[in-house]
């Protein structure tokens, strides 16, 4: 009985191990091929049959990425757009989330609006958005400010939903104590609620940053010539510059890697922070 149970459970463990290995391989293989591509010389890239290991190594693709002006400015522009849009979305999302956490009316309206915005096929508003940005004179600007505003608008629901539960978890009693101590509502929000929700605010900033960093459709439309990284990567690929495109793709993974390395084991907590009490 005992030994049979042990055989069964070790059989189960083997099956689980095999499944894990398969899922890991399926996820890791494209990443490996990309990494290999980024350090393989141009000629070897199209070798047939394909090489599993690069026979020659080169850093020339990375050098190209940094040498070409367009690429360098695209990296900076993407960083700027992501940072600005994350800041705007988190600031506005925090206000929305706070209202939703403290008023049942705002909660009803907030949830239906946020859900509505998320259900809306974004690309349908591309043309009006383009016209608005052109009228404001920030269409295809070198700074990418127009795209930053668009990304902020897209990211507000994400920020608000991340922050909502964090604000709802702050006891009303603590705010009432601050009010009796003499604080104004704005003061209470700034000195009591925001510091208490700082974990969720960090999460919202990271999520909104990655959302913008990775966004392709609006980036393609709004930044026609002053491009950000995702459209640039697309152009490099379709025009056959596989090496530099791979190097660029590797660079684009850096923010995600930074988050994983910096937060490590607490990452699971961060990504679900604010999603439940």
């Amino acid at each position: 009985m005992n030994s049979r149970a042990r055989t069964e459970s070790s059989g189960l463990a083997a099956a689980r191990f095999a499944l894990n290995a398969f899922v890991l391989a399926a996820a890791a293989l494209p990443l490996y091929l990309l990494a290999k591509q980024s350090v393989t010389p141009e000629l070897e890239t199209f070798a047939w049959p394909p090489h599993w290991m690069a026979h020659h190594l080169t850093l020339s693709h990375f050098v190209t990425v940094f040498a070409v002006n367009e690429l360098r400015s695209a990296v900076l522009r993407s960083l700027g757009v992501a940072a600005i849009s994350a800041a705007i979305a988190t600031a506005l999302g925090a206000m929305l989330a706070y209202a939703m956490a403290r008023s049942s009316f705002a909660q009803r309206v907030g949830f239906s609006t946020v859900t509505g915005v998320r259900l809306l096929p974004m690309i349908t508003v591309a043309i009006p958005l383009g016209i608005i940005l052109a009228t404001l004179g920030i269409y295809d600007s070198a700074s990418g400010i127009g795209l930053a505003i668009v990304h902020a608008a897209i990211a507000i629901p994400t920020a608000a939903l991340t922050l909502y539960a964090a604000f709802a978890a702050i006891p009303l009693e603590v705010e009432e104590a601050a009010w009796i101590d003499g604080a104004s509502p704005l003061r209470i929000f700034l000195t009591i609620d925001l510091p208490l929700a700082r974990g969720a605010i960090a999460t919202a900033l990271i999520l909104c940053f990655i959302l913008s960093w990775d966004e392709f459709g609006f980036a393609l439309l709004v930044q026609q010539t002053n491009r950000t990284l995702p459209p640039l990567l697309y152009y490099y690929t379709v025009f056959g510059n596989v090496g530099p495109a791979s190097a660029l793709a590797m660079l684009m993974m850096i923010p995600a890697v930074c988050v994983v390395v910096a937060l490590g084991p607490s990452l699971r907590g961060v990504l679900t922070a604010g999603s439940s009490r």
Partner: protein, 351 residues
């Protein structure tokens, strides 16, 4: 310093609850306790005084003027400390909002920490403190801006029993020393009787009785107060009377005289401690069968049956369960109530 006057205050909630037409006056430096079961409106009344709720109608005056936030401090049930601030930052928060200079702030924080009996390092965070220490931080924070009225909402309820009773003593001493007006909400009658200069018993949004604790205990103005205040609770019997002659419960004649204006059906009550095993002047005997006995530490609580009616007595000696016992009622300590209104009927001895 001034008196607190509450006039015809009403606040109803759509979901039910709240208070109706409550009037109350509190003298400066008094310790007032609002006592009642949950949902009686005591917390609503406190929150109205604090300004956390707006009244539907009625007024709250303090020292002849409308009450202001500056003259009030409050201690919440779960203390409501700011979790991200140190003890020092917690206590100094009200001063920071008033732009008090740094030297003076430090001085006043130290003073009120000492007054609240707080001995912990002020650089620690609330999460590092015990329940009793958090309570002291909350008190020190309430005290630091020298309010005229301190409101407390079940402020000891979340602490363990031993700490609660020692803090109760400290709190009373603290109030005497600072001379502030305290309004204290509790559902714990032991706490209420121990702390109050003036006890306000509330029920279903209305004030049931106001008075010194002894007055409320010895002379409850309604059946509700009689049943709610006192532990073990007062015996209350449904009785029939014949004018000026007899009071019978379940057909058993109690050989006591009903009050003059008593209706045919009446409720009468007697506290368990006003029943004894010794005969004496003004005492009438009743025969009971003991069902069970509890030792309370100083006395024995006897659960017995008088015919079919349950009765509780608090005796100084142990008796055996099942024993037939003659108990003596102190007729000077009977309470009569009109069952149709629930109000007290003045008895002839006192009238």
């Amino acid at each position: 310093m001034g008196d607190l006057a509450i006039r015809n205050l009403t606040r109803r909630f759509p979901s039910g609850g709240g208070i109706s037409d409550v009037s109350l006056s509190v003298r400066s430096g008094e310790f007032v306790v609002l006592l009642g079961p949950s949902g009686c409106g005591k917390t609503t009344l406190l929150r109205l005084i604090a300004g956390l709720e707006y009244p539907d109608s009625g007024e709250i005056h303090f020292g002849g003027k409308s009450i202001e936030r500056d003259s009030i401090a409050m201690v919440f049930q779960n203390f409501a400390l700011y979790p991200h601030m140190t003890v020092f930052q917690n206590i100094s928060f009200p001063l920071k909002l008033r732009h008090v200079a740094r030297d003076e702030t430090e001085q006043r924080v130290k003073e009120s920490a000492a007054k609240a009996g707080l001995t912990v390092d002020l650089k620690r965070f609330p999460r590092e403190l015990s329940g009793g220490e958090r309570q002291r931080v909350a008190l020190a924070r309430a005290l630091v801006r020298e309010p005229e009225i301190i409101l407390m909402d079940e402020a000891l309820a979340s602490l363990d029993a031993q700490l609660r009773s020692s803090l109760r003593v400290e709190l009373k001493e603290f109030q005497r020393r600072t001379g502030r007006t305290f309004v204290y909400v509790t559902h714990d009658q032991v706490e209420a009787l121990a702390l109050a200069d003036q006890l306000v018993v509330m029920r279903e949004g209305r004030v049931e009785q106001v008075g010194a604790p002894e007055e409320v205990f010895d002379c409850p103005q309604s059946e509700f107060v009689a049943a709610f205040v006192g532990n073990p609770p007062m015996n209350l019997f449904n009785a029939e009377t014949t004018p000026g002659k007899t009071v019978t419960v379940d057909g058993i004649d109690f050989k006591i005289k009903p009050p003059e204006a008593a209706p045919a059906r009446i409720k009468f009550g007697i506290r368990p401690r006003d029943l004894s095993m010794e005969a004496g002047e003004g005492r009438v005997p009743i025969d009971v069968v003991v069902e069970s006995v509890e030792f309370s530490g100083t006395t024995y609580i006897i659960y017995a049956k008088l015919g079919t009616t349950p009765i509780r007595a608090e005796l100084s000696r142990r008796v055996q369960a099942g024993a037939h016992l003659t108990l003596f009622l102190d007729t000077a300590r009977l309470h009569f109530f009109d069952p149709s209104t629930g109000r007290r009927i003045a008895s002839h001895e006192r009238a």
